[in-house]
């Protein structure tokens, strides 16, 4: 019996373009003094990162896979296929790297190997949507001589920051006082240089603050003004907005604002259906604020962007966009009807109207959500960074 442990040194979240580091430790757990102790042998171990793509058949119409030309021996247990037994199709994989070959372990002996691979920058981000899923894993294959291959799977989460491909893009000096190119001279720090550049790129994109004001009106007049300082955010940030209702001519009774993502299948891959078909667009609400605001002059809300959610992205099959979705309930009658009369000759009890004719309308404001640092994102899902299997 041999125990194989894979440990990600920095948590399971990575930025595309970064190097993934994993330590694989192989142990013969029998104590040296055990009577049944004997040395154990492994032929080889190899590791590969891969991304599985799965599409909902009721929503996505993929071209039929070449059924006449299936993947080579998909159930083969003699050749290392990291996606064997996995759902969906493998759309991206790194070359296999051999960790060791012809390993012999005496009782109680342990050996550790280091795996390092750059996550491809052209892949999609990890995403578990309604229509489409992109799932990344590091899979380690091990084989004893004359035995089937055993697979050890380490789940990963990959964030993608677009624009990193053109890393030569000139930097705004005001936002990045220290030039990222200086560190490029130290060859060994290329990976941290990329992470630093990504951090600076994120800072530049999400630091720009200027007040944007939007007039909110329905068919009969102005309801209020919405103010927001940023249109670009990072995962984990709060979306803060201010609503000014004091100057409106139409009384607003209630409003809600939801932080949503919209997952849309690209037109050429939408499943065409008759009436009642499954929609090719779906929405997920990540945070919501609701308020009764009849007599409110000014109010604000703060909606957190979950660290575990997916930044906006676009692939050939699917796109994901973020937005603030507002819903307003307005009174159909002039505002004064809803207020008690100012002057009363004698004391009396005033009650608000029992029924108020209302209108509702909604409004969507697109925002942009970018990744955050992988270290920070790792806190969202403190899942295991260690995976174990016994052969």
């Amino acid at each position: 019996m041999i125990e194989v442990v894979a440990e990600l040194s920095r948590g399971p979240v990575f930025l595309a373009g970064e190097a993934l580091e994993c330590v694989v430790t192989v142990t013969n757990p029998l104590p040296p003094t055990a009577t049944s102790a004997s040395s154990e042998a492994l032929a080889w171990a190899s590791a590969q990162i891969h991304c599985q793509f799965h599409a909902s058949e009721s929503r996505v119409a993929l071209p039929p896979p070449d059924s006449s030309q299936p993947d080579v021996q998909p159930d083969s247990q003699t050749v290392f296929l990291p996606h064997r037994g996995e759902r969906g199709q493998c759309i991206l994989s790194t070359p296999p790297k051999i960790l060791f070959c012809d390993l012999r372990l005496d009782p109680g002996e342990s050996k550790s190997y280091s795996y390092s691979e750059v996550l491809p920058i052209e892949g999609p981000p990890s995403f578990r949507g309604q229509s489409v899923k992109y799932v990344y894993k590091l899979t380690i294959g091990c084989q004893r001589v004359n035995s089937p291959i055993t697979l050890l799977r380490v789940p990963l989460r990959v964030l993608v920051l677009t624009g990193l491909q053109d890393v030569r893009f000139p930097q705004d000096e005001a936002v990045a006082p220290s030039s990222p190119f200086l560190e490029e001279d130290e060859g060994g720090k290329k990976d941290s240089w990329l992470a630093e550049l990504a951090g600076e790129r994120l800072m530049a994109a999400t630091s720009c603050r200027s007040l944007h004001l939007y007039n909110i009106s329905d068919g009969r007049g102005k309801v209020g003004t919405f103010g927001i300082f940023k249109s670009v955010y990072r995962l984990g940030e709060d979306v803060v907005g201010t609503l000014n209702l004091g100057e409106g001519t139409v009384a607003c009774l209630q409003f809600s604002v939801s932080l949503q993502t919209e997952e849309r299948v690209q037109p050429e891959y939408q499943r065409r259906r008759g009436a009642g078909g499954v929609p090719s667009v779906s929405h997920v609400t990540h945070a919501r604020h609701q308020e009764s605001c009849l007599h409110t002059t000014r109010t604000s809300f703060s909606l957190p962007i979950p660290l575990s959610s997916t930044p906006g992205f676009c692939t050939a099959i699917v796109s994901l966009k973020w937005r603030l979705h507002f819903e307003f309930v307005t009174s159909r009658e002039p505002g004064l009807v809803l207020l008690p009369p100012v002057e009363q000759p004698e004391p009396t009890t005033w009650t608000g109207p029992e029924q108020v004719p209302v209108d509702t309308f909604s409004w969507d404001l697109p925002i942009k959500v970018l990744p955050t640092s992988p270290t920070l994102a790792s806190y969202a899902a403190p899942g295991p960074s260690t995976s174990t299997i016994t052969i």
Binding site: A43, W44, S46, D66, S68, Q69, P70, D71, V72, Q73, S76, T78, V79, F80, S93, P95, P96, I98, F100, C101, D102, G141, Q143, V145, I149
Partner: protein
Amino acid sequence: MYTLLSGLYKYMFQKDEYCILILGLDNAGKTTFLEQSKTRFNKNYKGMSLSKITTTVGLNIGTVDVGKARLMFWDLGGQEELQSLWDKYYAECHGVIYVIDSTDEERLAESKQAFEKVVTSEALCGVPVLVLANKQDVETCLSIPDIKTAFSDCTSKIGRRDCLTQACSALTGKGVREGIEWMVKCVVRNVHRPPRQRDIT
């Protein structure tokens, strides 16, 4: 009489089974060759798309029937680290197909080194070796004479065995059938390594 009929049945339908190793550096085209062989010799086999073939780690297994012989191919990973596992399969094999990338002049010396280790191994004494100069469909590839020159050091080390160098393109299938038919002829007549006999059941 039952014994006679049973024996006759076995004689008519038995297949002699031969294990053939497919060796060579990574990216030489071993798995593509295996895939092409299965397509050409097995009528009902639907091959995979050759463009989907990726680096082999471990062992691709394929079976091909040629006349009364059944060839069981073992396509082993060719990465340098994996070559130390090749010799674990030598004792059981009846033939070796060594695949060379004719377009990779830079690694020809490396390929020759690996080939030399193969043919000088005691465990492969007398085993027929088919050398395939692969990727001959590429315009700029090395010719057979070029490759023979690069491998000339090995000539004296091949020893007493059947050996053939064959131009081929695993991608287009050119040279594949000829190579395999030659290999079948050689393993059948090699009395030092009798086949594994399997009755068809």
